[in-house]
């Protein structure tokens, strides 16, 4: 009897810890535009993100190639000269929404501290920012924003275009997660 009880408990805990929300089509934008020059910005609508509901652990993965620029040549240079996307195809984030609790969520966004490690071109950087989390029906919406510098990831900007690319790159993200069954 005790054994069965333990087994039930084990499975119960197992299903609770396994509860995850995810998206395959999260939107990540970056802007490195300088006023008066051609806008340097791109959007990717194919970020994969997974949120573990019990712990607030958030993991995201984006393929550099999926960033879409308005200007095709800029996209080519971004991939080939700056991001080396053939050599480093993905960027990842592994972090945590501090104090996350599913039962606190409502349609009004709640702000959480979001900390974690961003890996781009094989270089790691600790990120600390805030994220707005809300619930829309069955979906969990996560919105966040942070800035990084190209040199933190070993990206060199040639002097000829240095004036046209912002010193700080603004990254914003908007993920609509659904429950993983």
């Amino acid at each position: 009897m005790k054994k069965i009880l333990y087994m039930c408990l084990f499975f119960a805990v197992g299903t609770v810890t396994a509860q995850k929300y995810y998206t395959k089509t999260g939107q990540t934008d970056f802007k490195a535009s300088v006023a008066a020059f051609e806008p340097v910005e791109a959007k990717s609508n194919s970020t994969t993100a997974v949120l573990k509901v019990d712990s607030g652990d958030l993991a995201a993965l984006i393929f550099i190639k999926s960033f879409h620029f308005k200007v095709a040549l800029m996209e080519e240079h971004f991939n080939e000269n700056y991001m080396d996307s053939d050599k480093f195809p993905k960027a990842t984030f592994k972090g945590k929404l501090e104090g996350f609790n599913m039962s606190d969520l409502s349609s009004t966004a709640k702000e959480y501290n979001l900390t974690g490690t961003l890996t781009v071109r094989g270089e790691k950087k600790e990120i600390a920012t805030t994220a707005k989390v809300s619930k829309n029906g069955e979906k969990i919406i996560i919105e966040s924003f942070f800035s990084v510098k190209p040199q933190e990831f070993g990206i060199e900007i040639p002097s000829i275009v240095r004036e046209k690319i912002a010193k700080e790159i603004n990254i914003s993200l908007n993920y609509e997660l659904i429950e993983k069954k």
Binding site: T25, N45, T48, V50
Partner: protein, 135 residues
């Protein structure tokens, strides 16, 4: 002041050259985005058989520029702008593509550009620029 015939000719050529450089430069700077037709097709066939091929080759493909695959399989999940075919192949449609008439369980022939193999989170191959060939 009148210019000699020779210098008029030179000026005309210089202007013509400048216009050509300008037009050429414009087309170089604002060239159109690549389409699936500009890329190498590395696989055509059943999604089921593609699984093992993909696991073996994905890393190489990621490093070799744009590759296209064309799969025949079954839609296993459907999102707002993407579908999964045989669970492990996630096809993303260009913005504003209407995919309302697609349904889970439906057979599909579809092609797209490989963006990468997510071996960390969901264990799937991601593709974008998806184009439906046959429903």
């Amino acid at each position: 002041m009148s210019l000699s015939k020779k210098s008029k000719k030179i000026i005309t050529y210089v202007l013509l050259a400048l216009v050509l450089i300008g037009v050429g430069g414009y087309f170089y700077l604002y060239q159109s985005h690549k389409t699936l037709d500009d890329m190498e097709v590395v696989y055509k066939g059943s999604a089921e058989e593609f699984q093992s091929v993909m696991e073996a080759k994905a890393k190489t493909w990621e490093k070799e520029g744009d590759k296209v695959v064309e799969l025949t399989g079954v839609i296993t999940t459907k999102g707002e702008e993407a579908i999964s075919v045989n669970e492990n192949f996630s096809f993303q449609f260009p913005k504003d593509t209407n995919i309302e008439n697609l349904a889970e369980g439906q057979k599909i022939k579809i092609k797209g550009r490989i963006i990468g193999y997510d071996d960390e989170l969901l264990g799937e191959l991601k593709l974008d620029m998806a184009t439906i060939i046959k429903k």
